[in-house]
Symmetry: C2
Subunit: 230 residues, 2 copies
Amino acid sequence: MTENNRCVVLLSGGIDSAVAAAIARSQGFEIYALTVDYGQKHKFEIEAAKKIAKFLGAVKHRILQVPFGELAKSALTKSEIEVPKDRGELERVGDIPATYVPARNTIFLALAASWAESLDAGYIFVGFNVIDYSGYPDCRPEFVEAFEKVLAVGTKAGVDGKSIKIRAPLLMSKKSEIIKLGQNLGVDFSLTFSCYDPTPDGTPCGHCDSCLIRKRAFAEVGMDDPPLKK
Amino acid sequence: MTENNRCVVLLSGGIDSAVAAAIARSQGFEIYALTVDYGQKHKFEIEAAKKIAKFLGAVKHRILQVPFGELAKSALTKSEIEVPKDRGELERVGDIPATYVPARNTIFLALAASWAESLDAGYIFVGFNVIDYSGYPDCRPEFVEAFEKVLAVGTKAGVDGKSIKIRAPLLMSKKSEIIKLGQNLGVDFSLTFSCYDPTPDGTPCGHCDSCLIRKRAFAEVGMDDPPLKK
């Protein structure tokens, strides 16, 4: 194992990654936060990520411009593909929606791994979760496990017997549980941004899957979703 | 399987990926070439990749600016780390040298996968090889196999039963065999660029691992290494 307490955290600007980062901090890790600007329509999440990184005391926060949105066909990257709105809960089960971005989390983890290996950090923290999510295949336990295997055989760290591990502490949590956990860890949710399709001034649409899941989860825990701090 | 004959080829500008692309073409694939500008010292390889893509009749060639060299500690990305020179053959065996770039091929394959999935392409061609190489862990068969598993479980294509496959036709070839194969396929090696540490005007150093391996391989097949077309 490495002898430092560094970890790389993939920080999107949303609730899940903010809570994952707070968990890393609570476990004594130093946070090296990584946010990827890939050409997403919801660029406001990057501003949110900056505030969250600062709030959580990240040692560094890198925002990497990786314009793979030019290559990736998705409702989150292409203006000609609309973000689905007001989908019922049943529609969101067992379906991969148009907001899926091909290989996005594979790219994110690969970039995080490059930084982690360069920092001699032993862990990458992510906010992936498979419950109350949008049906993306790259948020599942089998994906995380397969990617860890890539790091074990495909990096110098792995060959040297100190393979980088992925910590996905929210993988099996419901969104409402994530909110409660974050609340206990002091996460300021007014810094987080979830909407896939905000108005030009950054107001959440309230109708995309991500807005709907957020709304329902706050209702479940009986909390008000605090207005976004701009 | 997909119904088109598209493939994404990771094209670095060197010999191996040029020959891998020529193999794809000879098998009837349409080439979508991807080159990553990651902040490498040897930027001349990108110019070489452009010429190779054109020479091989690529349908498209995308050069993606992905500045992960800022994060990745390597002799290929950091001016303060020198590219090793004149290492003997024995020094190059079983050792991972300073020119290893953390998680580079993982990042490259992830980006290629995003494009392949968006194109509905079934294959990614790469020039990785494990013989006569620089000892990088992310050029080995076990790495390719692990990454295919990531694509099987972490992409929509995989979930839909048309998982993207990685073709690494040179994985177990000696560099001299790769050159012979390329020659038979009509590859113009004067378009390729191998040096890790060229002079500012793009002249290969002749002393880095990559130059030494290239020089020896051309000598083995009894061919002159043609001067670089600029």
